[in-house]
Amino acid sequence: MTGADAGADGPADPDDGSWTTTHRDEMSEIEAEADAQRSDLDQLAGLGPKGDPDRRRANAGTVRPGDIVSAGPAPNHRIGRQRFLVVYLRVALVLAFLVGVVELVIPDEHRDRAGMVMVIVFVVAPAGRVLWLMVRWLRLGDWRFALIGLTLLAVVCTGLIVK
């Protein structure tokens, strides 16, 4: 599967009747995000899906010919979208570190239990990240990669049953 192949169909069309009216409002921001992330210029490089260039440009916050452009970088609207993930991973790291410290000082009889907590933290942290991504991709209509994420979690879980 090449990148060009993968982008052949892209996220689901919000007007295809697959989403309910209730979902439509809360999905509008996500639709705009998906549109913003695809440039009409993708087609020049043969990298992305096709679509209405004017609409994408407007959604992406980019400038049109004739607009005044500063020398600085264009604002990155993606910053902050993964804030939850950043906080989640920082909390997991601190938790792992604290469990490690506790494990060094507690008596032997409790060590195995603390050790299990440490392993659980290191398994749940990346698995939770993948789960969060899956939910996000599903909301974007990117069901194919959501399915790939689910497959990955299934593969990781096989580690629980094989010895």
Partner: protein, 271 residues
């Protein structure tokens, strides 16, 4: 125990400076010091998991991780890691030592290899927001404030084969496998090295999780030693990341290469 904390601290510091992580030095050093490879491997994997977790927030802030690519490739790597962790219980200590030596040499070679810039900035993308593009294995990243580089992952099936190999080695030897994943993504799949490195750091955490589940089921994890590795590794990795900003990358890469080659020679001799 304090020796192990200090060792983890030093190896994580050096490994982070060289951009390869601490486990690639920690596991061979533990084996050289007399720890059996099947017990050194889980400690290395714990170090990998901690390193991946520590680096993740920074990479997310930089917006250079391609999650779709990482998740796709990681299916192969995790499957390989589970297989490798299972094999680790039956492979002889001598064979594992020799494998570690080969891995150390490979990592050293990947460190000294110069990489040309394959993906170039394109003027027509200068107003594009950096990041991955939904539904694709393509994206763009910011090379400089005004330069945006578009890219698209190619030869995905070959990349998947490389990921299986990295997973097996990771599960067997207890190292991260980033030294295989990053060059594979960069050289085979034409993904920019910065994106490849960040995506690889994301994926080694998942590979480590798969291996840890197997090691835990096999009862191969020494929890007290693991705690020492994590405490030393997290602190060493954090200090290394800060020091790395002020040291020339070429110098640190050469130092790491020298250390890995010395370790490889010691491993071969001791095996």
């Amino acid at each position: 125990m304090f020796v192990l904390i200090a060792l983890s601290f030093v190896t994580a510091l050096i490994g982070t400076l060289g951009g390869l992580g601490g486990a690639i030095i920690l596991v061979p050093v533990l084996v050289v010091l007399g720890v059996e490879p099947i017990y050194a491997a889980p400690l290395g994997i714990l170090s990998v998991a901690a390193g991946s977790l520590a680096a993740a927030p920074r990479h997310l802030d930089d917006g250079v991780v391609h999650h779709r690519l990482g998740v796709t490739l990681e299916i192969a790597a995790s499957a390989g890691a589970v297989g490798g962790a299972l094999l680790g219980g039956v492979v002889s200590a001598t064979a594992l030592s020799l494998l570690l030596a080969a891995v150390a040499v490979l990592a050293a070679l990947s460190g000294i290899r110069r990489r040309g810039m394959r993906n170039l900035p394109r003027a027509e993308f200068s107003l594009e927001e950096p990041g991955e593009w939904p539904g694709t294995l393509s994206g763009a990243y910011r090379l400089s404030p005004t330069e945006i580089v578009p890219y698209s992952a190619e030869r995905v099936p070959i990349g998947l084969v490389a990921m299986v190999a990295s997973g097996v080695i990771s599960g067997l030897a207890g190292i991260g496998g980033g030294f295989i994943k990053t060059p594979a993504m960069n050289q085979i799949m034409t993904v920019p090295v910065r994106v490849a490195a960040a995506t690889s750091t994301f994926t080694v955490g998942i590979t480590a999780a798969a291996s840890l589940l197997v090691f835990s089921g096999q009862g191969r994890i020494d929890y007290r030693a693991g705690a020492a590795v994590i405490v030393g590794g997290v602190v060493g990795g954090t200090v290394g990341a800060r020091l790395g900003r002020n040291l020339p990358p070429e110098l640190t890469r050469r130092l790491l290469t020298a250390v890995l080659l010395i370790i490889a020679v010691i491993l071969v001799v001791s095996a």
